[in-house]
């Protein structure tokens, strides 16, 4: 009935814009260096261990995503999922300090055919601040995301409290 595939179907995009009191080079480093990437990447309740990160055109990214919050470990076990999952991807569309695209192969979602997840990031200096636009192309796999989102709720509530419920930057989708 439908000749689109999980790999090629256009998907809705979520665009998130943030402005940080920092230099663009500092933001760039969080996306393109091992220590930078490990310091923030991954869903709440997970940490990542990077095995390969080559921020050049076509350069490899490989890491383990490891559940480390007790609630998340319990949630993964309850779902019958491993607490550690290897993820592979590559960088493309790089213009240092301006933009990058991260393609990740998502081949571990139960009930969903493997697909590529694409995240596009743009950076620009804004006075003494740095502006970042992240465009995420989510893939709707109801089984996984439904449960995952449910599992994240308690973590998110804590996070909201930590950040004082500050209003997020404008977001369009």
């Amino acid at each position: 009935m439908n000749d689109t595939t999980a790999d090629t179907a256009p998907q809705a995009a979520i665009v998130i814009e943030r402005t940080y009191r920092a230099e663009v080079a500092e933001l760039w480093a969080l996306w393109t260096t091992r220590s930078g990437f490990e310091s923030w990447w991954g869903p709440e309740g997970f940490r990542v261990e990077v095995h390969a990160l080559d921020a050049r055109e076509g350069g490899e990214l490989a890491y383990d995503m490891i559940a480390d919050a007790p609630e998340m470990v319990a949630a993964m076990k309850q779902m019958g999922q491993p607490i550690s999952q290897g993820v592979r991807g590559h960088y493309t569309g790089l213009a240092p300090g301006q933009r990058l695209t991260l393609i990740q192969r998502i081949d571990f979602v139960p009930g969903s055919a493997p697909y590529d997840s694409k995240i596009e990031v743009e950076f620009r200096a804004l006075g003494d601040q740095a502006h970042m636009v992240v465009t995420v192309h989510p893939h709707l796999d109801p089984l996984w995301t439904g449960r995952a989102v449910q599992g994240f709720q308690s973590q998110l509530t804590k996070l909201d409290a930590r950040f004082g419920g500050a209003a997020p930057d404008p977001v369009r989708s």
Partner: protein, 112 residues
């Protein structure tokens, strides 16, 4: 099992049909007129939209009337909102990581 809603709506013809149906319940002829697509194509796409739960159909004498169903759109909206929250949280951590690194760099700077 329903098709991936994103894939269902990824088709531009189906999006035109959905746009046309926003005007309200209507027979296939009206959908054809509003969407500007040949009837055979409209029927096929209406069936796909119906199977995916986006469109309902009911008989009205000799006609069949098509209408949008709100539920899948609400589900999509809720799903996207959840996804966005996850990314908001992730970028909060990005900001916290930036601050930590700035603090570390500041600590390492030589004093006067």
């Amino acid at each position: 099992m329903h098709a991936d809603p994103f894939e269902t709506l990824a088709d531009p013809t189906r999006r035109r049909i959905v746009e046309a149906l926003r005007a309200g319940e209507q027979p296939v002829g009206e959908v054809v007129r509003h969407a500007g697509i040949h009837q055979s194509g409209v029927s096929r796409h209406l069936r796909i939209l119906q199977e995916a739960g986006f469109v309902s159909v009911r008989p009205d004498g000799q006609r069949r009337l098509y209408a949008l169903r709100a539920e899948p759109f609400r589900e999509l909206e809720a799903w996207l909102a959840d996804y966005r929250r996850l990314w908001d949280a992730r970028l909060d951590r990005f900001g916290a990581a930036l601050e930590d690194r700035r603090k570390d760099a500041g600590d390492k700077e030589p004093g006067p």
